[in-house]
Amino acid sequence: MNLDFSRVTPSLPYILEGIYITLQVVALAALLGFALGIILSLFKISSIKPLNWLADFYTSIFRGTPLVLQLMLIYFGSPQVFGIQIEPFTAAFLSFGLNSAAYISEIIRAGILAVDKGQKEAAVALGVPYRKMMTDIILPQAMKNILPALMNEMITLTKESAVVTIIGLNDIMRRAYIVGGQSYRFFEPILIAGLVYYVLVMILTIAGKLVERRMRRSD
């Protein structure tokens, strides 16, 4: 195997700048996915049937089609649907966020259902209204159960975000690909991109473990 990084080294800063774009997409998508995921999960456990249906339908759509298709629909479909061409960046975090919400809502739903039923009873017996019970008693405990699964979702998001290359967003992946095209060597820049993703994922994993440990303090 002959590896020659010398021709790629000058482009290294260019590739690394993609980290910023990738992280921005992931962070915004995670925020959107989390916020919408909580709402959807509350719909799913609600006693109001139409809300159940709505949330289940949403989930089935986003789980039942490829992510890259959702990305392309939102990006290429925006002129026809909204009458404007949205930026690749916007399309990227929107589609990842909406997609992620479907998965996160399932994670949170399971987390809520895993909280001991007695917790709800105790809160209800004290006269605590539903909303306060959810935000102060049930969700904090559910979060603890689901933190590992949420971290997994973040990691998936980070890796999957590489498909934004397809709509021309200059993330890590696309930059590595561009450098490959310019230097007629694809192996080395893509190896570098691989390493960058790996390090990002490791950092997320460790951060997740730390947060988890902190949250277990009360056990």
């Binding site: 917790q119 009873e121 105790a122 209800v124 004290l126 006269g127 605590v128 102060d136």
Partner: protein, 240 residues
């Protein structure tokens, strides 16, 4: 102070309470006993509307809580409940367990609620545990905290559903002592229990439930020495 009139409760087809008529006077301590599955928990849970009665009505201090117009949350806030398995909030400290509902439901300031919470912890002998998390407490300590948490809402009546059944034998006494001292303060109490010694000593009345019916309602001295019905006799024979 509590009046229960023709109370029925069904779960789907299962008839769990078949027309209960009884009452509890102010300051009275009532022990509810009976075989497992006889509807004791369901009866208690109807009194704070954790279960909606299928038929019949319940009054607390002259207010019909089973009427459609009642504010269910208000009713629950004035009826304290202690569960077999404590159900303390594990992510909150002992003191936070006591202050949460008074702050969020009754609108007390943090300072007022904490002052009161500490007083109550003192009363149940756990003042030094205020800042611990529940997971660090023994079962008996957890149940005492749970009692204090219910008391923090200044309830008009306290319901206990087998408060000592999940405890190791050596911890039963400390919880019963707390309940006994609470009874001496004149608190109105309804206690589902298998602790017959406690019922005999502390209760003013014993309600014996069997198959969803109130079979006997008597003074402990009468009930334990000369039960009137065969069902009560059989039950007492089995457990004593």
């Amino acid at each position: 102070m509590i009046k229960i009139d023709n109370l029925h409760k069904n779960f789907e087809k299962l008839e769990v309470l078949k027309g209960i008529n009884t009452g509890i006077k102010e300051g009275e301590v009532v022990a509810i006993i009976g075989p497992s599955g006889s509807g004791k928990s369901t009866l208690l849970r109807c009194i704070n509307l954790l279960e909606q009665p299928t038929e019949g009505s319940i009054w607390i201090n002259g207010e019909e809580i089973t009427s459609k117009k009642t504010n269910i949350l208000k009713v629950r806030a004035k009826v304290g409940m202690v569960f077999q398995h404590f159900h303390l909030f594990p992510h909150k400290t002992v003191l936070q367990n006591l202050t949460y509902a008074p702050i969020k439901v009754k609108g007390l300031t943090k300072k007022e609620a904490e002052g009161k919470g500490r007083d109550l912890l003192q009363r149940v002998g756990l003042a030094e545990k205020a800042d611990e998390y529940p997971s660090r407490l023994s079962g008996g300590q957890k149940q005492r905290v749970a009692i204090a948490r219910a008391l923090a809402m200044d309830p008009e009546v306290m319901l206990f559903d087998e408060p000592t059944s999940a405890l190791d034998p050596e911890m039963v006494k400390e919880v019963l002592e707390v309940m006994k001292s609470l009874a001496h303060t004149g608190m109105t109490m309804a206690i589902v229990t298998h602790e017959m010694g406690f019922a005999r000593e502390v209760a003013d009345r014993v309600l014996f439930l069997d198959g969803g019916q109130l079979v006997e309602d008597a003074k402990p001295s009468e009930f334990f020495s000369s039960p009137k019905t065969q069902r009560a006799k059989d039950f007492l024979e089995k457990i004593l």
